[in-house]
């Protein structure tokens, strides 16, 4: 099916998320939509999928103009979508999820789950997915959940399949598998729209590339174009994401973790006998596919979770059972992975967000009251030093873009005397300019002789920043290797192979 978007415009208040976007995807073509975080890719696809209504413009399928009132209309017209955040019901089985919304039924509206199972098995076998129709979705690893999403779209005869940042949760090997699946689907006649900001993937799989920036199409590119050309188109200027690091001056062990075990909500060892050391002036990156215990490890390190065994030492001090406040006072800076949930209070101003981890004493509080004059001065300094683009320091944090929100968190955590920095997904959902800035700051912390722990699922980020890399898999550390280790080896480790 040939998909055409003609002059799609979508506004949210004063913000123009999509500005007269034109896009043509031919039948059986893999068309990459390349753009930075916040460029308007997902908005465009939500318009295509009927979740948003466009203010202007037409969606044309095989020459026929369509108006979608909701996702149901879009699906009926042959559009399927695999969302970045999976649209699956965790407590339902695979078969139930696949047929939800177009269920086969018997008498009295009863569900015909046998037909549903057969449908799942048939599609699963056709593409070699190996999915059990009766498995509960919440029990499946993310890679398998994504395949369930693809089955869901194919079960409705999707002729146009939209994949929104599909590789964010996959290992390099799983990414390769997904690309194989995409090529197979395209060969079978499905048109694929592949939304991403990763140049490597675009070059590997796309037939054609459309680049969008700040809500508008900046041009078409060919997969044979160099990464530098694509990056320049995407960001609007030459980008250099490599960081210059001095050779590490390894000092004393700043953080020693021994035999740390954390029991999760379902009585499983989400962190399983983990031991490592981070030296002063060193960046240790913890790599791994999302959901392998990295979150819980970080939360245990800062006192948000109680370990069931093992110890955490900051220098000579034992902080295994310290409260969060004691950990903060010991000089641990923490950039949480989800800034809007754990990093900021969205309804607080920027200045208020700067003080929330030091609300009880100087420099922000004087006795029982807030030292407003001091706070105003410090906030102004931080906004300036960390390049937070905001109308004022009394702007609510939730009004800022992702990159600027992250800079507020980074500014708060780095602006005090630290003995350890823990940064979890420090650049997730952040624009390239902010990524460069945040990476520089993290390296500056290392150069200042502090131990730094980076937790990231982005392999590029891990290899750029780290001095050593620890790979986590199913709660355990599979191995700790040098930062120059090849992507292939790291990928195998992320799938559980020991070195």
């Amino acid at each position: 099916m040939k998909l055409e978007l003609r002059g799609i415009t979508k506004r949210f208040g004063a913000l123009v998320a999509n500005d007269h976007i034109n896009l043509v995807v031919n039948s059986g073509e893999i068309h990459a939509l390349l753009g930075e975080n916040g460029a308007g890719k997902s908005t465009l696809m939500n318009v295509l999928y009927g979740l948003y209504t466009a203010d202007e413009g037409d969606i044309v399928l095989d020459g026929v103009v369509h108006r979608f009132k909701g996702p149901g209309d879009a699906m009926a017209a042959g559009i399927g979508m695999v969302h970045q955040h999976f649209m699956l019901i965790p407590v339902f089985t695979v078969a139930e999820n696949v047929v939800l919304g177009h269920e086969p039924t018997g008498i009295l509206d009863t569900l015909d789950l046998d037909t549903a199972r057969k449908l799942v098995r048939e599609i699963s076998d056709r593409f070699g997915f190996e999915i059990d129709p009766d498995a509960l979705v919440e029990d499946l690893p993310v890679g398998a959940q994504q395949r369930v999403e693809i089955i869901k779209a194919l079960a409705r005869d999707a002729k146009v399949l939209v994949l929104d940042e599909p590789t964010a949760v996959l290992t390099p090997q799983e990414t390769d598998e997904l690309m194989g699946i995409m090529k197979g689907l395209a060969k079978a006649g499905t048109s694929i729209v592949f939304i991403t900001h990763k140049l490597r993937e675009v070059q590997a799989v796309a037939d054609r590339i459309t680049v969008i920036r700040l809500g508008a199409v900046v041009g078409e590119a060919k997969p044979t174009d160099s990464a530098a050309t694509l990056a320049t188109m995407m960001v609007g200027r030459a980008v250099d994401l490599s960081v210059t690091k001095k050779t590490p001056k390894r000092g004393e062990a700043g953080l020693s973790v021994t035999g740390l075990t954390v029991i999760g909500d379902r009585n499983n060892k989400v962190v399983d006998d983990v031991s490592f050391e981070v030296h002063a002036g060193e960046v240790l990156a913890i790599a791994g596919v999302q959901g392998n215990g990295q979150t819980e490890l970080a939360e245990a390190l800062v006192g948000l979770r109680t370990p069931s065994a093992g110890s955490i030492h900051l220098g000579k001090i034992d902080i295994t059972h310290s409260s969060v406040r004691e950990v903060i006072d010991a000089g641990v800076g923490y950039i949480p992975e989800d800034r809007s949930k754990d990093g900021l209070v969205g309804d607080f101003t920027i200045a208020e967000n700067f003080m929330i981890n030091r609300s009880y004493g100087p420099p922000f509080a004087k006795g029982l009251t807030i030292d407003f004059a001091n706070r105003e001065r410090i906030a102004a300094e931080l906004i300036d030093a960390y390049d937070v683009r905001t109308p004022s320091q009394v702007t609510l944090a939730k009004k800022l873009s992702g990159g600027n929100q992250q800079k507020v968190v980074v500014a708060r955590e780095l602006s005090r005397e630290l003995n350890l920095l823990i940064a979890s997904q420090p650049t997730r959902g952040v624009d390239v300019g902010s990524i460069e800035f945040i990476h520089d700051r993290i390296i500056a912390t290392r150069e200042a002789g502090k131990p730094v722990v980076i937790i990231s699922t982005e392999l590029d980020e891990v290899t750029t920043l780290a001095d050593r890399i620890a790979v986590m898999y199913r709660g355990r550390i599979v191995g700790i290797v040098d930062a120059k280790t090849s992507r292939e080896t790291l990928g195998r480790m992320m799938a559980g192979a020991t070195v």
Binding site: N46, Y49, L51, Y52, G70, P71, G72, D73, M75, A76, M81, H83, F86, M87, L88, I89, P90, V91, F92, E96, L100, G101, H102, E103, T105, L108, D109, T110, L111, E138, D139, L140, P141, V142, K152, I263, G264, D265, R266, N267, N268, K269, V270, D272, Q290, G291, N292, G293, T295, E296, E299, L304, E337, D338, K341, D342, R474, G475
Partner: protein, 423 residues
């Protein structure tokens, strides 16, 4: 605090089974053995299984109170020991065993209370069912609402509305069936207010629920004082539905008269509970409803209308709760009283949670609470010396033990209480 963690990925902890269930059991077993057995009363208890007029009349079973205590106490000790053995072998005491334990402990207590008296078993069970019906129906309304993601604090108000309208309309028109229908519609309209405010206008569901409860209480109190108490003969004297024995079933000894010599409100509950279970777990309608309560955005992306689904399930849930309200008046005592529901809507809310949003488990939980109410009434009559409060807590203690016996966490529908805002 945490992101989506894929379970099954991690190695399970070798759990040593907690011994709190066996210890609790042992404490209760020893208490029963000593208090009701060794130092128990020697008077004779007459276990009355059936009434004279029952088709199959079982003779009363006469036994000394302390003998019952000794026998049951020994059985309880045996169960407790068995539970210890299970825990030693890292196995959890099964739920049914915990329930049997609770049941036997309560029987021992009853035998002690009724020393020198009769223990009207059929009477207690039959009344427990009658008292459980409004709770169960209120809980079904709550389940319907919460399964699609709307917290229904307003069950209390819906019960009260149903109770009032059933009594008044039944009385004025002299037609109880008309009273029943109006009661259901009235409660459904009240539920519709909750639905519109929480789904359309995104007002906090708890606040709307509380406001509705206070509103209904105020209106019915006012009307009762100004109207019903002066004109009771015309407007608040509906009588009750006739008791219809079901041929055959009602002849079953002990449980027959308790379950199958009942009013239409009770029989409707017998129908509604399994039907709701069937719809929720076996049909397309139920699958869609549950998807809306678990992950509304996901439901939306496959073309399910979240707002419409929520609206109708909440409204129909009100209809069912209204029936429960009618059961309070024309299904039981035959008149409306000030604040008739008296917090039963909130108990129904507890029943929803104890029953884990499942119709059958909720019905069992409702029966437990029904039993506790009748126990209080009866115990007060036979043994006036014992503080009623003490007797009243017994079933709740049993409930607590039952909950301790539950393995795994109670999990509400994931989107309960969260408004769904479309982009």
């Amino acid at each position: 605090m945490s992101t989506v963690v894929t379970p099954g990925l991690f190695s399970q902890v070798d759990v040593s089974v907690s011994k709190k269930t066996p210890y609790l059991m042992a404490a209760f077993a020893v208490f029963v053995l000593v208090a009701f057995g060794f130092v128990g009363k020697t008077d004779i208890v007459a276990f009355q299984w059936s009434k004279e007029e029952d088709l199959i009349h079982l003779p009363d079973f006469l036994v000394a109170s302390n003998v019952v205590g000794l026998v049951l106490g020994t059985v309880l000790v045996a169960i407790a020991v068995f539970s210890f053995v299970l825990a030693q072998r890292t196995r959890v005491t099964p739920l049914w065993l915990t329930l049997v334990f609770g049941l036997l402990a309560v029987v021992a207590l009853l035998a002690w209370l009724a020393a020198g008296n009769t223990l009207p078993f059929a009477f207690i069970l039959g009344n427990a069912v009658v008292l459980a019906v409004p709770l169960a129906l209120g809980a079904m309304g709550g389940i319907m609402s919460e399964r699609v993601g709307v917290v229904n604090i307003a069950i209390e108000g819906q019960l009260l509305t149903g109770a009032f309208l059933a009594a008044v309309v039944g009385s004025l028109t002299d037609n109880l069936y008309l009273g029943l229908i109006v009661a259901m519609i009235g409660a459904a309209l009240l539920s519709m207010v909750l639905a519109v405010f929480s789904i359309q206008y995104l007002v906090d569901q708890i606040i709307v629920g509380v406001v509705l409860n206070v509103l209904v209480l105020g209106i019915t109190n006012f009307l009762y004082a100004q109207w019903l108490s002066n004109d009771g003969q015309n407007s608040n004297f509906p009588g009750t539905f006739p008791i219809i024995p079901i041929p055959g079933l009602s002849a079953i000894p002990v449980i027959g008269p308790a379950l199958f010599e009942a009013r239409i409100t009770t029989y409707l509950a017998y129908v509604i509970i399994p039907v709701l279970w069937f719809i929720l777990f076996k049909t397309r309608l139920g699958l869609r409803a549950r998807s809306v309560g678990e992950h509304p955005l996901a439901a939306d992306t496959v073309g399910i209308n979240v707002a419409v689904t929520r609206f109708w399930w909440v409204t129909i849930g009100g209809l069912v709760a209204g029936l429960g309200g009618a059961a309070l008046t024309i299904g039981a005592v035959g008149a409306f009283g000030r604040n008739m529901s008296g917090g039963q809507g909130f108990i129904a809310l507890a029943v929803v949670i104890l029953g884990r949003w499942h119709p059958f488990s909720a019905a069992a939980a409702a029966l437990l609470f029904g039993f506790s109410i009748v126990l209080r009434i009866w115990a007060n009559q036979v043994s006036p010396g014992i503080p009623t409060d003490f007797i009243t807590i017994v079933p709740y203690v049993v409930t607590l033990i039952a909950v301790v016996g539950f393995v795994g966490r109670v999990r509400a529908p994931a989107a309960t209480g969260k408004p769904y805002i479309k982009g």
